[in-house]
Amino acid sequence: MDELVQELMNLVNGANGTMTHATLLAAWPADKRGALPKAIKTARQLNLLTQEVKLVDGAIVHTYKKV
């Protein structure tokens, strides 16, 4: 598995398999910020991760869940 995808899954697994995008971005290494969207995309294509967007109390909540 791609190293960045592995790193992403480690973060999600470390958060009991569920993480908001904002939390993930905060935990993700700043010097690899530009690579985060591709890592998420690859993880989703590999069926390792699903994402959900919903409105909670007037605010968008964007969450990732481990499959």
Binding site: H21, L25, P37, Q51, V53, K54, L55, G58, I60, H62
Partner: protein, 164 residues
């Protein structure tokens, strides 16, 4: 939330005009599908132009949107340009007017910051849809194919022809 039916008519010179009527949102999709050609025929019987399209628009309420205020920096000519791809390879383009400068990755770049929470959430909403009570509403192409990928997200400037 009423449903607006917009009918576009073309005259002999190719100039287009449109007319709209609102119907109650109790109409089902099947009923709207049946209504559209019936409505177009009824209109066609009283006009000379050619009906080129009949759209059904749901008029969404913006009541309750937090922070929905125009700022001095808002400019509809400053556009967020997105291109998505469906599973069958069709491209879906969407241009968002009055883009927030904060959505851009770097000062010297026209690439949008897809890692930024606001941009990522917008792209996720386009790619996987938005979860609502009882299901997910997913954007799609004209062939009703769901979006699976983002091809690009960048800043652009478009002449609106109405700049003040």
């Amino acid at each position: 939330m009423p449903i607006e039916i917009i009918t576009t008519v073309e005259d002999r010179s190719g100039t287009k005009g449109s007319t709209s009527v609102k119907v109650l949102d109790t109409a089902t999709l099947a009923q709207l599908n049946a209504f559209a050609p019936l409505w177009a025929t009824a209109l066609n019987n009283v006009i000379l132009g050619k009906i080129t399209s009949v759209f059904a628009n749901l008029i969404g309420s913006t009541f309750g949107i937090t922070g929905n205020t125009g700022t001095v920096d808002a400019d509809v000519e400053h556009v967020g340009k997105f291109q998505f791809r469906t599973a069958t390879g069709n491209r879906v383009n969407i241009n968002i007017p009055a883009l927030d400068e904060n959505a851009i990755a770097a000062y010297s770049s026209d690439t949008l910051d897809e890692a930024a929470p606001e941009v990522a959430a917008f792209i996720a909403a386009m790619e996987t849809g938005v979860t609502v009570t009882g299901g997910t509403i997913s954007p799609c192409d004209i062939g009703e194919q769901s979006i699976v990928d983002t091809l690009f997200a960048r800043e652009a400037f478009r002449n609106s022809g109405a700049r003040k």
